[in-house]
């Protein structure tokens, strides 16, 4: 499972970074979205990977070692909400920039054209 997760994070980060450095605003936004997926998976991994271990203890007296760490999951939840909101905001700015400058280049003007 470790290798699958590591590969997923690696591929997402690499593609996210590549898109982030592209000159079109839409690519940049997609890049940020991919990067945030990678980061969310990474946070999840920081609580150690466990399968078949629920993050919540039902009864008192149960052995805590049989359960997954719930904190990273709560962090991921928060991170997802926040990155979703900021991405939505960035989309609005993208549209405004497209409308004002007439191009979707990140600098507001096409270098070669």
């Amino acid at each position: 499972m470790e290798i699958t997760l590591a590969l997923a994070i690696g591929v997402l980060t690499a593609s996210g970074l590549w898109l982030l450095f592209r000159p079109r605003t839409f690519q940049v936004i997609l890049g940020l979205a991919l990067l945030s997926y990678a980061v969310n998976l990474f946070i999840l991994a920081s609580g150690r990977l466990r399968s078949d271990a629920p993050p919540l203890i039902g009864k008192a007296g149960a052995d805590p070692a049989a359960f997954a760490d719930p904190l990273p999951q709560a962090l991921v939840l928060t991170a997802i909400v926040i990155s979703f909101a900021t991405t939505a905001l960035l989309l609005v700015v993208l549209l405004a920039s497209r409308g004002l400058t007439g191009t979707d280049h990140v600098d507001g003007e096409d270098g070669e054209a």
Binding site: S36, S46, P55, P64, T101
Partner: protein
């Protein structure tokens, strides 16, 4: 009195939040009502900050004030901590908040919707970031203040603002992702997010885990350094701040200081003298990067063609001075640095406010620059025009130019660090602290040289601009200057005067703050876990943590 003292810490966060929420329901047309509400809130925040500062400095023997949210025990719940350093920055923020809001109510708040709500939300985020003792909660407050700042940058709209904010938002989202990676790495080693508890865990880190810990801290640091605008992560700053409306830029002057505050706080907590293998981590990096930032900012000041760019580059210089001071370290340097932090932030904020009235006389075109065509027609309820309202005082003061010129010279002296103002005291204290080192190494000499050179650059550029904008005889009578615009500038400059006159007591306060920073034991015992719940040194997930409900860390 006890109740007040106990719950006062939460006020700087909860008050702007409630007022913001309430203000969203008020129609955009009721501008005077909104203005009064937000000004009263800002004034209350100043009073709260003064109260907290008083409590924090009185309670020096019993450690900082700690507020446990929901009364959860320390490593599990979120704590708010008000010590000397955070309350000082709280007061600085609320002063800037009040003056910027006052200035904005002259007319800038009319150029777009929901200015006051966004502004108060920004204040809430800043206050929260200064007060929180939990590293993930810090992330949440960072996002709150950033989200509000995105809205404020865009306030007034226009091509330049939109384009600058596109870069600003992208860079900050990327920095926030770095922040999260850093937090995850720290958590995976230390198993805690409470800053005081982190300090304990870092001390007990096994040597083989030190690399992961340091990588986490470095990535986390990179996120804060983007905010603090260190070279080479600073290219976004001058343009963004120049594009923002003046009152917005004036409050943004304190935003770089959030990054510096966190670096200061964490480097003393996690990598202070008593932190075992990781002690003194990255201090050389901070020093050299700070020096490079100073050099870059100085060159930027010389090459700037607009005053707002000069101010932006000056922000870089001051970040550089602060960061390399943190890097070099030493108690006297740290307290001098804190004095400089307060003085330079006030001065830059005043400069951002005074730039626009000064340029208003020189260039008619510049006046329109701030307010451009609306993007969303339906969003605008107010008039985005320059016509003075009847009830507003817009008389031509005969001494307009004299007043502006006086304020401008005042700003220039403060920024350049010439005697007798507080800028001089701050820079003198820094240089004096550098000379008091036993061995004055080449970086120290470089820093002294750069401090003097950047002061000279500021003086030259400000003189040039002053001659051009204020001395050149104008064809027509000077443009109207509203008293609402003069008052906040005068307020900021008089705070600087107070800093100068009360230099001794203020410096004593800074020295006490530094002493507390160098000896974080009080902070750790007050904000950290109670002695009976000592989590084991970990590489396995905290078993205790599993009892917590999932939603606890949610904002």
């Amino acid at each position: 009195m006890m109740f007040l003292k106990q719950h006062l810490i939460i006020v700087p966060i909860i008050l702007p939040l409630i007022v913001t929420a309430a203000m969203l329901s008020i129609n955009e047309r009721q501008r005077m009502l909104k203005r009064s509400i937000s000004l009263i809130t800002a004034a209350l925040l100043v009073i709260t900050a003064i109260g907290l500062l008083w409590f924090a400095s009185m309670a020096s023997n019993s450690g900082p004030l700690v507020y446990r949210l929901g009364d959860w025990p320390s490593p599990f719940g979120i704590v708010l901590v008000a010590d000397r350093l955070s309350t000082m920055l709280l007061l600085l923020t609320s002063i800037l908040g009040f003056t910027s809001l006052l200035y904005a109510s002259a007319r800038w708040d009319r150029s777009g919707p929901r200015f006051h709500a966004l502004f108060l939300l920004l204040l809430m985020g800043l206050n929260g970031a200064f007060l929180t003792g939990d590293i993930f909660n810090l992330f949440v407050f960072f996002e709150v203040l950033l989200a509000a700042s995105y809205g404020l940058i865009l306030h007034g709209s226009g091509k330049e603002k939109t384009s600058a904010s596109l870069h600003y938002i992208t860079i900050n989202i990327a920095a926030s992702l770095l922040f999260l990676i850093g937090v995850a790495l720290l958590y995976s080693v230390a198993g805690t997010l409470n800053m005081a508890d982190l300090a304990v865990q870092v001390k007990n880190t096994a040597p083989e885990d030190l690399a992961v810990l340091e990588a986490g801290a470095a990535i986390l640091g990179a996120a804060f350094l983007v905010k603090a605008a260190i070279w080479p992560l600073c290219f976004w700053l001058p343009r963004t701040y120049a594009a923002a409306a003046p009152p917005v830029a004036a409050i943004f002057a304190v935003m770089t200081k959030v990054g510096i505050y966190i670096i200061l706080r964490l480097s003393f907590l996690l990598f202070g003298q008593g932190s075992g293998g990781a002690a003194g981590f990255a201090t050389d990096w901070l020093m050299y990067a700070g020096l490079a930032t100073m050099a870059f900012g100085t060159i930027g000041i010389f090459s700037a063609r607009q005053l707002s760019r000069v101010a932006g580059n000056y922000v870089l210089v001051s970040s550089g001075i602060l960061l390399s001071s943190i890097g070099i370290g030493g108690e006297s340097l740290t307290s001098a640095m804190l004095f400089y932090l307060v003085s330079s932030t006030l001065a830059v904020s005043a400069l951002y406010l005074i730039i626009e009235p000064v340029q208003r006389n020189a260039d008619e075109e510049d006046r329109i620059e701030g307010i451009a065509e609306p993007v969303f027609d339906d969003e605008y309820v107010g008039l985005a025009k320059y016509e003075e309202e009847e009830d507003e005082v817009g008389v031509v003061i005969p001494g307009t130019i004299a007043l502006l010129g006086g304020g401008f010279i005042f700003c220039a002296l403060l920024l350049a660090g010439l005697p007798p103002l507080s800028g001089f005291i701050a820079k003198f204290a820094i240089i004096d602290a550098l000379f008091s080192h036993v061995v004055i190494a080449p970086p120290h000499w470089t820093m002294i040289g750069l401090i003097i050179l950047s002061g000279l650059a500021t003086m030259i550029v400000m003189t040039r601009a002053g001659i051009e904008l204020l001395w050149t005889p104008a064809d027509d009578s000077p443009a109207a200057l509203s008293p609402i615009e003069v008052t906040p500038i005068a307020l900021l400059l008089s705070v600087c005067l107070v800093l100068m006159i009360a230099g001794g007591p203020v410096m004593d306060y800074m020295e006490a703050t530094t002493a507390a920073l160098y000896n974080p034991a009080d902070y750790i015992t007050a904000a950290g876990p109670a002695p009976d719940i000592t989590p084991e040194p970990l590489l396995t997930p905290l078993p205790e943590a599993a009892v917590m409900p999932v939603g606890v860390e949610l904002p």
